[in-house]
Symmetry: C2
Subunit: 225 residues, 2 copies
DNA sequence: CCTTGTATTATTGTATACAATCCTTGGAGC
DNA sequence: GCTCCAAGGATTGTATACAATAATACAAGG
């Protein structure tokens, strides 16, 4: 029964939690475009709730930087610029390297086993071209790495960024060449951790992000500098 | 009149903003100890407001990781463990290095001038042993560095961490030896940026954090590993 | 025609009322 | 005395009512 213990602030079973998750997803997926104004009543009616949970969700979204609230005026969708995406990938490249380094000493047997299963299963879905499953497995691999780092702070931070660039990542992975290469890199990172090689783990995780970054630019998903 | 444009989510002039700032400060300063339960009504009465702004502030504090809300039960202060502080310093060491590197290319003339003034003025207050001013100048130096990086993402992140370890930093800087050394290191970072030396800037900023970290441990302010 | 001031309206900010949930406490049964 | 359960109280979750603020429209004066 130890389910849902982590549930940071999403809280699936409260109205506020659902509103928050829904709005975040809608913003990241581009349903609400940048600059658009979100009205409490309208959102409330759309989701069938009153203003109270909507307001609380707004406050959280603001803290996440997804909307900007101007007092007594309104809430405006901020969106993510190409520069933000580039910056996040550079930050991630450094922090994921650190996560991999720390994971060498802190990964549990269960986490290791799930990682191995993850990489193995991914091969299958890549073969079949199941993009949705590839996406989910990629998500989970990185989350596992964050959790295995043994640092709540680092885990929290990387999960945030991971969420943040969700939209762009969906496009990236469906690319025919990046999918397989990404999983090969996952495998290499996993091996380094298994062999307790700190430097390799950090370097490979770092390069993994840099490669993803380059891929985005080469495929024109975001514009360079 | 371009004041208060950044005001992320604090919003000094709304009740919610004040409640949020106040509670964060009280938690970080140790007024509310770890594990203590915060009741909406009690906090509201203490600050003379109703539950609504208190609840909104709670939701934000949860997202910042300072309290943990268990649905239908209560809000509990999380506090910062020694491990969290150690982790943050390691993360900061890497990210501040990056900030310094980026600052080389993005710092404005005004920022550069304020940095120079900052380092110069700090010498005076160190000489006189004015700990409060030393603290403020140290704060400002780092904020300037973050702003000069030219990356909203990185700036936001580092400011967060900076706030987070506020309590411990106050103690550190008042140490007779660390104060002067810290400012000397600031000066070196500034020089590297001025000379447009990316590698030095990154290395020095990185080392600056590592030194602060070691100092904390050597002085027993937090326990090692 | 343009500017300015004011009234109206829409929207957010805050307080309060009501509903749902959890915890405590006390008593019945054994 | 111990266990279990039920009732009451306390606390959070949600909805709604009211207050404050900002946007808009329109009329009066230049």
């Amino acid at each position: 029964m130890e389910e849902d213990v982590k549930e940071g602030a999403s809280d699936k079973y409260s109205l506020r939690g659902r509103v928050f998750s829904r709005l975040r997803e809608d913003i990241l997926n581009g349903k609400y475009e940048e600059g658009i104004e979100l009205r409490e009543i309208a959102i409330g009616e759309e989701l069938g709730v009153s203003r109270t949970p909507v307001r609380e969700a707004f406050r959280q979204l603001e803290l996440e930087g997804l909307i900007r609230i101007i007092p007594n005026k309104g809430a405006y969708v901020v969106g993510i610029s190409d520069k933000d995406v580039r910056d996040i990938y550079i930050l991630r490249s450094r922090l994921e390297g650190l996560a991999a380094r720390w994971a060498v000493d802190h990964i549990t047997k269960e986490q290791m086993e799930e990682m191995e299963e993850n990489v193995y299963l991914a091969k299958f879905h890549i073969e079949k071209g199941h993009t949705e499953q590839m996406f989910e497995l990629d998500n989970r691999f990185h989350e596992l790495l964050y959790e295995a780092s043994g640092s709540k702070i680092l885990e929290h931070q990387l999960k945030d960024y991971h969420q943040y660039v969700l939209r762009i990542r969906k496009k990236t992975l469906s690319s025919a060449t990046r999918g397989p290469q990404s999983n090969t890199e996952h495998e290499a990172i996993l091996e380094a951790i298994k062999n307790k090689n700190h430097d390799d783990a950090e370097r490979l995780a770092h390069e993994h992000m840099i490669n993803a970054y380059k891929n985005m630019i080469d495929n024109g998903l975001i514009k360079p500098d």
